[in-house]
Symmetry: C2
Subunit: 497 residues, 2 copies
């Protein structure tokens, strides 16, 4: 029985009637990872073909703010020109902690030691950086300035682990077009290197030879099946699985608690991951996701305290909002309240979809209005205020600069409910890969001829509670490049695993 090839059913070489197209390296997906892979493979002398399902380049990367997390080595030009020095060890320790209990040390080390050169590379590809710095905690400033504090650097427990330093690097772009500008530069470079690109072309299935080496790709174009030979290998850069309802249910069911705010360019259907699995690649950390809650600006709201449906606090509110949102998803119940007093209250941003749930002259009144169990919210605020007055937060270790007793009435509870407020999200799980992009089985053996990068792989960002803005695009571009170089060699890497 012959079956139609699909992402989860590879095509055997002897089922290929003839090759319609040939290249050394075939890259699936023209987002940040795919573009970076194509550039490096082409520069290494390979004939490269990009297969892109959309009608243009960019993918989900182009929708992002364009932030790239970089530092170490004394500092990037943007860091040093603003008076920041950043040691490779601090950068490494921060990134390692951000990777969670299963951080990929080899990958983190390569990134920490290579980030400075990577910034130069980005500039050489034509990505514009103004090298200016915005202090405070800006979220998507959209001013064209470069350097921002984009993670939990100054927040516990990261601040105990590594000297804080701003490491988010934004392209010179206005509004929220940073990702677009980044991808325009990379795509222009891809074209100038003579890389072929097929748009409106869907990677349908991998082609494997008798020795189980990946040697090509079945592609659907205008409803027609095309067979593309890849003598050096296939690099899967097809994004994550945030739009695949079945995969979400089976791998990350907690996502069903969020409103429909998936971050995607429209094609994160998990087909890259599924193609890797079809030939024995292991998919890891599939339950991990990025989500966030833009509860500031206004920055004053960081001085508020977040409580769950039982009136209990659960995290330091000065952590990166992505870490906070991950903790929110770990709580039972879908109601969350940001408690503020008159001194710090401002209208929440429209974007956040945070509304006012209750207002009162006393916290007892607010507690009653929210129908919380008697004594819960009141004692949470009381314990917080008791310590905040001394500039301390022994429970959650919020930095003293964000500590303030909530004692100036009227008081308000702002609703940050799951399923209601804006919690954008994307997936962090993906194929297990070496830093070279070589896809690995569960035994740690490479699948010959197969590479992955970006959110099709499980890379640097693999733990929702450790995410900082700029980590995913940093991973996409840095390790996309490595995968491109590796695939161009046609040889397995030396590193064991």
């Amino acid at each position: 029985m012959r079956v139609t090839p699909s992402p989860s059913r590879p095509c055997a070489l002897d089922e290929v009637p003839s090759w319609d197209l040939e290249a050394d390296v075939v890259v699936v997906g023209f987002g940040a990872a795919g573009a970076s892979a194509a550039i490096e493979a082409a520069e290494a002398g390979a004939k490269v073909l990009i297969i892109e399902v959309a009608s243009g380049h960019g993918g989900t990367s182009a929708m992002a703010g364009g932030d790239i997390y970089l530092g170490g080595g004394g500092g990037t030009p943007a860091q040093t020109e603003n008076g920041f020095s950043d040691s490779t060890e601090d950068f490494y320790r921060y990134m390692k902690m951000a990777g969670g209990p299963d951080a990929d040390e080899e990958r983190v080390r390569l990134y920490a030691e290579g980030a400075l050169a990577h910034f130069d590379w980005l500039e050489r590809q034509g990505v514009p950086y103004r090298r200016t710095y915005i202090p405070g905690k800006p979220v998507m400033p959209g001013t064209g300035d470069c350097l921002i504090l984009s993670g939990s650097e100054e927040a516990w427990p990261f601040s105990e682990e590594a000297e804080p330093c701003p490491r988010g690097h934004l392209p010179d772009a206005t509004g929220e077009t940073g990702g677009f500008v980044l991808l325009e530069s990379l795509a222009t470079r891809v074209r100038s290197l003579g890389v072929d690109v097929l748009f409106d072309a869907r990677g349908q299935a991998l082609i494997v030879d008798a020795a189980r080496r990946v040697c090509g790709l079945v592609v659907m174009i205008d409803g027609e099946t095309r067979y593309v030979r890849a003598s050096g290998g296939v690099i899967l850069c097809a994004g994550g699985f945030v739009l695949n309802r079945t995969m979400l249910e089976q791998y990350a069911p907690q996502i069903s608690r969020l409103a429909d705010d998936a971050l995607s360019g429209g094609y994160d259907d998990g087909s890259g991951i599924r193609m890797g699995q079809s030939v024995g690649g292991a998919a890891i950390h599939m339950n991990e996701m990025f989500t966030t809650l833009p509860f500031y600006p206004p920055e004053s709201h960081i001085k508020g305290i977040l409580v769950n449906d039982r009136g209990a606090r659960f995290i330091n509110e000065d952590a990166y909002p992505g870490r906070i949102a991950t903790y929110i998803l770990d709580q039972v119940g879908d109601r969350f309240f940001l408690l503020v007093d008159d001194a710090i209250f401002e209208q929440p941003s429209e974007l956040s979809r945070i509304s006012i749930a209750a207002v009162g002259e006393t916290w007892e009144e607010v507690e009653r209005e929210l129908e919380l169990v008697e004594g819960t919210l009141v004692s949470t605020v009381k314990i917080h205020n008791l310590h905040a007055e001394k500039g301390e937060d022994p429970l959650f270790h919020k930095h003293r600069k964000w500590l303030k007793p909530l004692d100036e009435p009227p008081f308000a509870a702002l609703a940050c409910h799951l399923g209601e407020a804006f919690y954008p999200y994307f997936t962090l799980g993906g194929l297990r890969v070496r830093p070279t992009g070589e896809v690995l089985t569960s035994d740690g053996d490479p699948v010959p001829g197969l590479y992955a990068a970006g959110r099709t792989a499980c890379g640097l960002p693999r733990w929702g509670a450790g995410y900082s803005s700029g980590m995913s695009l940093g991973d996409c571009t840095f390790f996309g490049r490595m995968a491109g170089r590796q695939a161009a060699t046609h040889e397995p890497s030396e590193n064991g695993d």
Copy 2:
């Protein structure tokens, strides 16, 4: 380049020099799932061969208490003879909630409707049941009695969802030999059916033909490679991955917080799951695990309250201890305290490795001795007592029969710390399968010729917070049987997915 076959690298049919052994159905693993599969396949007329890595039958199943979770249809003989009636719908609703946000409804429905007949089948295989009932919350009674309340039936939120009923069915066995007795009966039946068994034989890799159908198994015996033909299919019943350090780190890193108390017969190395992945089978729920904390007996301790390292309560303490331990792993920090007063205190069991952390005449004294943040533990106890006096627990919904103000000094905090107390554990993630055992890819297509059951598959128990004692062996035996029947037909099932 020819590579050595391994669990993650299948062997191509044309690499098989000759067949050393042949069978219709090859079963990998002789625990509860493998035995049940072999019995049904043999009864359907198939020539069956079991490959077992250990020197005898039993696997991890034989180490368990032997509890099987059964009910519905008005009640099993053990239920009705003790005055319990149990509707299929209540049983279904309980099992569905226990399966969590991604419960497999089709599987739950089949199980709820087939459990009564399954009890008969177990008795027909010779498993001895005394049909007696032990009231209360016994844990591993070891008396040979049959029926126990083995889950969260009477606890919120399950009690809101389904009428509580005891559904744990233990074989007539003394001490902790229930699993052993169960497996002895099944193994005797396997032998009487003329099933061939190879012990000390390791399933090394699947053999696939050019159409990617699984048609055999590479087996290592005494260091020699043997090729086993399976014309009807291979059923993987090789257990979970709780002994595979690399897989634990990548799939369930939270396990590193526990002491070395893995529940395993010695061979849960994930090789079954890895073999399935090697031919495109998807492994799902790999982050989910079962763990528990035997903080009772003494039953009086259920009236205590559990707090985390921040002095906060987080669950109703009358839930199944496996649910409680899962919630414990969701908390930040590794210190946990069971708070008791003089009226309910008894010495914790030696098994539990729970020790006395602090004693005081007031809760303030206990709070200080534990070095908890001032006011935290005290306000937790105060809020609990305030409501417990009225027989209420509005925060966590503990049943009133377990509610008691903790107001009789001296007071004590019992240390239930992660990494210190006894939290036995095993893995719940595994291959995605139809109820028939057919292994599915991420796209939901069956991998021809491949089946899985028991903890190699992701079955009924797939959510740590929903586990009840007896669910895993219930799943192993019930769906092991279905896989055996299906494989014996040599045909794919009709059900879509």
